[in-house]
């Protein structure tokens, strides 16, 4: 029921049998044992402790890396660790008597350093995220694989008997060896700086993931610097003797840190159990998010829900929400129930490195999440209803205002003028009968106007023909009176519930007014019919199109009135290509 949507779990090779990691690990173990045996039996070798530590250092990488590789084949971290371990033992080739082996060991003495740099910079995702990362890692490889080759072949020390040597010069060798060690140190510092930078820039969960590597890379790279420095500044003999002992210990700190990170993740997974107890069956919504954020150590964690009957995702308040895309620093994990996506955890991308944790934690919270999803659904509907109710109230209010204005500016003004005219006529009735007659005629005209306005007003409020003869007849009357020629096909042929007839009538009224005002149309076609117990009305014009919801179009109020009766309205109005509005209303 839990699926990590953003993880490339189906990448080719992900399900290949784990032959490669196993083989590499076994080879690594064999090499470590061989190195141990060879070094211990070598005359004038290092101390037994140093030899064991040396072998253990490389072996740690091989073992931890192999395990990590098996566990997460798609993450390069494991493979890189094994590579570091294997490359580590290249040094031991110099302990063999074969000149070829010696030359290889000498030339690629610090080859492990290239893999190590790659590992540290890419930790823990195994990916190189930025250009700077890639440049530094490439420089590391170039130097680790080519540095010794370059100095030892081109500027070999005076007495060198190595294979492939082209040129010997003691002074030049000293200079270039010092330069090389200086560059080693620089590269080390750069690597440490990159890791610190990653750490500082990281989100809390990212920091948590990088943390072990950051802390381990410090001593490790410091040891590497110590290893490189003797040639540049020289070290006290005691310190110099400590280097072969310190280096493997420092080196092993990274795989150990990795193991620590794994353990911690295991603990977090175990603590997911507490989550279930803590959340119970119906926690307050924000509590789920907080508990998940806490368990995943991602304070920015967000939850998204899929609500029936709505496209896309919504948050706990029912507002629309987009899931992060691949380029974002955020990622998401989709929760499914019965094969249907119900919710998504939006979390830091670094948590992709710990999919098990996210899955287990999300799974543990599934019940509570499902619960909250239903609540989000309810809230989404409620938010819609609240908004639409507010708009309906506004519309009703505007209607009242319009009525008041029409009455006040129209009929009322005329009646006042009439009263005035009559009183003037009254004053003149005795001495100037001619003028009186004219005034009375004037009054009658004003009265007629007022009557006509009142009649129009009354018809606009609720036409009697609608109540009396039904929708077809009312639409016909509307069509007769419309300023734009209307072709009407009304085939309802029966009476519908009052509110349906009224809603449909006023919707057509509004649409015809809109057409007259905005569409510059030559003709309008109005179709009204019953289909499967639903009234379907279409108003289509041949005007300029481009009508939109919102603004002063009045379409929003229309949508609300239709929605209030559980109806639906669709608008098609391509620019320059007419407008088509269709709405349907259930008549049950």
């Amino acid at each position: 029921m839990v699926e990590a949507a953003s993880l490339p779990r189906t990448v080719p090779g992900a399900h290949r049998p784990a032959v490669l990691p196993l083989a590499a690990s076994l080879v690594g173990i064999a090499i470590a044992l061989l190195a141990l045996i060879v070094d211990l039996h070598r005359p004038n070798g290092e101390s037994a402790a140093a030899i064991v530590l040396h072998a253990a250092g490389g072996l740690t990488y091989v073992l931890v890396g192999g395990a990590a590789w098996l566990r997460r084949p798609h993450n390069r971290t494991g493979a890189l660790m094994v590579a570091v371990g294997l490359a580590w033992f290249v040094q031991d080739l110099t302990h063999l008597t074969s000149p070829l082996a010696f030359a290889l060991g000498d030339f690629f003495f610090v080859a492990y350093f290239g893999f190590l740099g790659h590992l540290v910079v890419a930790f823990p995702s195994g990916r190189l995220e930025t250009r700077a990362d890639r440049v530094v890692v490439a420089a590391g490889y170039l130097w680790a694989l080519g540095g010794n080759l370059f100095t030892h072949v081109l500027f070999a020390p005076a007495g060198s008997t190595e294979l492939l040597v082209l040129h010997r010069d003691a002074t030049q060798y000293a200079i270039f060896d010092a330069i090389q060690q200086g560059l080693d140190a620089t590269l080390c510092v750069t690597l440490v700086a990159l890791v610190v930078l990653h750490y500082m820039r990281g989100t809390p969960p990212a920091r948590r993931a990088i943390g072990p590597a950051a802390w381990a890379s410090g001593p490790m790279l410091l040891a590497a610097i110590l290893l490189s420095l003797p040639g540049v500044i020289g070290l006290a003999p005691g310190v110099e003797n400590a280097v072969p002992v310190l280096t493997p210990i420092a080196l092993a700190s990274l795989p150990l840190a990795f193991v620590f990170g794994l353990l911690r993740s295991r603990l977090a997974v175990a603590s997911a159990g507490h989550l279930v107890v803590e959340l119970g069956s119906s926690p307050p919504p924000e509590r789920i998010r907080d508990a998940l954020a806490e368990t995943l150590h991602d304070p920015s964690l967000a939850l998204a829900y899929q609500v029936p009957g709505r496209e896309g995702w919504v948050d706990a308040e029912g507002r629309s929400l987009d899931l992060p895309d691949r380029r974002s620093s955020r990622s998401f994990t989709v929760l499914e129930r019965g094969g249907v996506a119900v919710a998504a955890l939006i979390h830091d991308r670094s948590l992709e490195n710990d999919p098990t944790l996210v899955e287990v934690v999300a799974g543990a919270a599934a019940l509570a999440i499902e619960n909250e999803r239903l609540q989000a659904d309810v809230r989404a509907r409620l938010a819609e209803v609240t908004e639409s109710r507010a708009r309906l109230v506004t519309v009703a209010d505007q209607e009242r205002r319009r009525l008041e204005r029409d009455l006040h500016d129209g009929a009322q003004q005329r009646l006042v003028a009439l009263a005035l005219t009559l009183s003037r006529a009254g004053e003149r009735v005795d001495e100037r009968p001619g003028e009186t007659r004219a005034l009375l005629a004037d009054g009658e005209r004003q009265l007629r106007k007022a009557l006509e306005e009142l009649r129009r007003l009354a018809a606009g409020i609720r036409p009697a023909i609608l109540s009396d003869a039904g929708l077809d007849a009312a639409l016909e009357s509307l069509a007769e009176d419309a300023p734009v020629p209307v072709t009407l096909r009304a085939t309802v042929d029966c009476r519908l519930p009052d509110q349906v007839e009224a809603a449909a009538y006023f919707a057509v009224c509004e649409l015809l007014t809109n057409t007259a005002k905005h569409a510059r149309a030559n003709s309008v076609t109005v179709t009204a019919r019953l289909e499967d117990g639903r009234l379907r009305v279409e108003v289509r014009d041949d005007g300029v199109g481009g009508a939109q919801f919102g603004g002063g179009s009045g379409l929003n109020g229309l949508v609300d009135r239709i929605a209030a009766l559980d109806g639906q309205l669709t608008l098609e109005s391509p620019e320059g290509n007419g407008t088509r509005v269709e709405f349907e209303l259930p008549c049950a």
Partner: protein
């Protein structure tokens, strides 16, 4: 001439009654709803009823229903319906039961005494009267479409309007200051242009003109 008044507004009824009495009509009964009207007519049929279209209990078209009832049961009683509604459908409904002796006037006309009296006398004489506002709405409706009405001259349209209001050739001539012969020429031109069958009977004529205007008889309602 004996008149029954049916209107739920007492004020208007009284005013109308006084005006009619002054003009030589005899108001035999005043009623406030359709039921009372039918009862009054049954009891003592008058020459003409003036009926408000809007009366209790529903205040929609009780008057019209009552008028239609009277047309069937008392065909000799003329009916003048006063309406608040400019609805061509109602006018047509009223005429459909026989156009002789019926009228559909907007209530505003009550303000014009002479017009009302002319209309009243017309229906009593067995003619039909349709309010010019209703007629102009019918004509306007035809004019907006690619329609034969467009081929009429301005004068012919005027004559058409007069016919639709129920006027005879002679009345049209008086109204538009035309000789009877000229009116006749216009009428036959109109009929041939619109493809309406001419009829000598003025009442049948008004009905066929109105029916044609409304487009009811042509199948494709528009």
């Amino acid at each position: 001439m004996r008149v029954i008044l049916a209107d739920d507004s007492v004020l208007l009824r009284e005013g109308l009654a006084r005006m009619l009495s002054e003009s030589g009509f005899e108001v035999v009964a005043q009623v406030g709803d359709a039921e009372a009207l039918l009862a009054a007519v049954d009891a003592d049929p008058p020459d003409v009823c003036i009926v408000d279209i809007r009366m209790p209990p529903t205040n929609t078209t009780e008057g019209l229903r009552a008028a239609l009832h009277l047309r069937v049961h008392h065909p000799r009683v003329a009916v003048l319906v006063l309406s608040q509604y400019v609805e061509t459908r109602y006018a047509m409904e009223l005429l459909a039961q026989g156009a002789d002796g019926v009228g559909y006037l907007l209530k505003d006309r009550v303000g014009d005494v002479s017009e009302l009296l002319v209309a009243l006398r017309s229906v009593v004489a067995g003619r039909s009267v349709i309010d010019p506002t209703v007629v102009s709405r019918l004509v306007g409706r035809r004019r907006r479409q690619a329609d034969p009405v467009e081929t009429l001259t301005a004068r012919e349209r005027e004559v058409l309007g007069q016919m639709a209001q129920g006027r005879s050739n002679r009345a049209i001539g008086e109204r538009l200051f035309l000789s009877p012969k000229t009116v006749e020429a216009h009428v036959s031109a109109i009929f041939s242009k619109l493809g309406i069958e001419d009829t000598a009977d003025d009442n049948r004529r008004v009905l066929s003109v109105l029916t044609w205007l409304r487009g009811d008889g042509e199948g494709a309602r528009s």
